[in-house]
């Protein structure tokens, strides 16, 4: 972009550095201080891993993590399976195709509205809040990601492949399982990771739909934040950050490697 004036470029670079610093310095700092040997925010006292030890010995955190994993996994499976079959159905043509746009709405409505709606529905029907209520909510969230992503990819697929398969005598179902699905698999996989992360981090749906007994990790973090500032949360944050980064690396590498067409 040599047509830019040098001044504009330099100014821009400074701006970017500042913005990125703003975005990352807090994270770096509180990860660093997870090793600080002080029970409250203070100056650097000394190096220690005791917060990590306390973190890993806390049963409540493991319980909350277990709950989060279950809810997110089930939600991912449900939304991926339902989503991919729905896109397949929609691509057969007809009126169903117009229904695809419905799923874009899940990301347009404020989460709090959807959560309140689900809460009202569950209370009125006497469905107890808890694990399944949350799974339902997260599946709704997941469909809102899976359907648009898979649909986008589906449209990009070379239709000649499916036509060739049909010409060779395969039934539509066989075409789907042997040709389309393998081609969709990378997108489906990356969409699943995305849904998993969104569901794992979500706390608005959990806040309304999980009831008072079922606790997921974000809810646990929220209760810890409300009680005060403790380095155990620093340790937990660092662990989660590393975990998310690994997932991101996996996701990015998938995206670049498997794009065939």
């Amino acid at each position: 972009m040599g047509k830019h004036s040098l001044l504009a470029q330099r100014w821009n670079i400074i701006w970017i550095v500042l913005v990125y610093a703003f975005l990352f310095i807090p994270i770096v700092v509180f990860c660093a201080f997870s090793f600080n040997n002080a029970p409250f925010p203070s100056a650097w006292v000394g190096l220690t891993t005791r917060w990590y030890q306390e973190l890993f010995s806390s049963t409540e955190i493991w319980h909350a993590l277990y709950n989060s994993l279950i809810v997110s996994s089930v939600a991912v499976i449900l939304s991926a399976v339902m989503g991919v079959f729905f896109v397949y159905l929609a691509m057969q043509g007809g009126r169903i195709r117009f229904m695809l746009s419905h799923f874009y709405a899940n990301l347009v409505f404020p989460e709090i509205v959807l959560a309140v709606g689900l809460l009202s529905l569950f209370s009125a029907l006497g469905i107890s809040l808890g694990m399944w209520a949350l799974i339902i909510a997260h599946t709704v969230l997941g469909l809102g990601y899976v359907v648009p992503l898979v649909y986008d990819r589906y449209q990009e697929l070379d239709y000649r492949l499916t036509e060739a398969a049909l010409d060779l005598g395969a039934t539509p179902l066989q075409v789907f399982t042997t040709v389309t699905l393998p081609l969709l698999r990378p997108t489906l996989f990356s969409a699943s990771i995305l849904v998993f992360i969104v569901s794992f981090d979500d706390f608005i749906f959990a806040y309304f739909c999980a009831g008072s007994t079922f606790q997921t990790l974000p809810l646990y973090i929220l209760s810890m934040l409300r009680t005060g500032v403790s380095p155990i949360v620093n340790a937990l944050s660092t662990v989660l950050l590393v975990f998310s980064s690994l997932l991101i690396i996996g996701y990015s590498s998938l995206k670049t490697k498997f794009r065939v067409f």
Binding site: G126, S128, G130, W132, A133, S212, T213
Partner: protein, 361 residues
């Protein structure tokens, strides 16, 4: 022929949709199923810090009785859960004083068999015999709290405190940088303000409501944070000069920070948590075992260590790691008790919240 086929296709598709709706509904309602609970088990409904989980596990190990702990965050939630016919199967509940009258009047509580409870003699008599359950036939006190005001001795000279309520509702010494922690529960806030302005009244006229609103609104200028849980940390780290909180939180702060102290207004507000058995329970014998276990001296000492609640048992107090002054508060003389008041339900929920929104505008 085509039309007939189309119609048939339509019917088939509708049936398919119906099948899925039924499947989904079944999945959803399956969560309502009470999973088979073994005979030797009880379901307890209490607030989350009432029974220490590790100690509950100890109970399960020693007696073989499985305990299912369900939680509520407000007493209204407790009421709703008990009143709704959809939620059954609670064997033990832990309500606060001000809902007991309603529970009793609606016939939701079972009479206790006092012979089965081995600890009644050790309970603090001052915590019993209140109007909502004069002979304690339905409820027994478990733990209790006084709402006291903790303050930072480095910033506030104890001898300068004229009236404890002034620490909350006035800028102490007119100091511009004065900051406090105030409760985030509108029920408590309105009770405090009413007690300060009018004393122990049982209802509020609309002028009185205006006064309460004005007082709380003015107070906002020196409130650093509205919270029920972070007060001890904010007080200890020096972010605030004073905090009005439940004694459990203040006692926790006193144990962690040496530069803090507390005062209690003469007409302080208290809250006594009771144990009671819902009328639908069929496992009373197991509940009595539970109660006998959790009312032992060791159990209360453990409870204090975890939650800093004031115990209902008198003989525990001396064994606790607190100052004599704190012990005196935990025992409290009859005269002091006469002046204490309960938190009261002065306004219906909606009006309560309207007031709170007005305060926080």
């Amino acid at each position: 022929m085509m039309k007939f086929m189309k119609k048939k296709v339509g019917i088939v598709r509708s049936v398919m949709i119906l099948i899925w709706v039924v499947i989904v509904t079944l999945i959803v309602f399956a969560s309502r199923l009470q999973f088979f609970k073994p005979e030797r088990s009880i379901t307890v409904l209490a607030w989350s810090a009432a029974f220490d989980r590790a100690y509950v596990k100890k109970f399960e190990k020693e007696t073989g009785i499985r305990v299912y702990l369900s939680t509520y965050s407000t007493n209204e939630e407790l009421l709703v859960k008990l009143q709704s016919s959809k939620e059954k199967g609670y064997d033990l509940i832990v309500p606060s004083d001000y809902v007991i009258a309603r529970l009793k009047n609606e016939g939701l509580l079972k009479k206790l068999d006092k012979n089965k409870l081995l600890f009644l003699d050790q309970l603090n008599p001052l915590l019993m015999g209140f109007p909502f359950d004069p002979k304690n036939e339905y409820t027994i006190p478990f733990v209790w709290d006084v709402f006291c005001i903790g303050y930072d001795t480095r910033k506030i000279e104890p001898s300068l405190i004229m009236s404890p309520w002034d620490l909350v509702f006035k800028r102490f010494n007119h100091h511009a940088g004065y900051r406090i922690v105030m409760t985030n529960d509108p029920l408590e806030a309105i009770s405090f303000a009413t007690q300060y302005l009018f004393g122990p009244v049982s209802s509020l006229s609309s002028e009185q409501i205006q006064e309460v609103t004005l007082l709380l609104k003015n107070q906002k200028a020196w409130v650093e944070n509205y919270t029920n849980l972070r007060g001890d940390y904010l007080l200890g780290s020096g972010a605030v000069d004073a905090a009005i909180m439940q004694s459990a939180e203040i006692w926790r702060a006193l144990a962690a920070f040496k530069h803090l102290d507390f005062v209690i207004p003469q007409d302080a507000l208290i809250s006594i948590e009771h144990c009671a058995i819902p009328v639908g329970s069929e496992k009373e014998s197991l509940v009595y075992e539970f109660l006998n276990f959790f009312y032992t001296k060791d159990a209360f000492i453990n409870n204090y260590r975890e939650a800093f609640n004031f115990p209902a048992r008198m003989d525990v107090i001396d064994a606790l790691p607190v100052t004599d002054r704190q012990k005196a508060v935990m025992r409290s003389s009859p005269e002091e008790f006469k002046r204490y008041s309960f938190i009261r339900d002065l306004l219906p929920e909606r009006k309560r919240f309207d007031l709170w929104v007005a305060v926080k505008s």
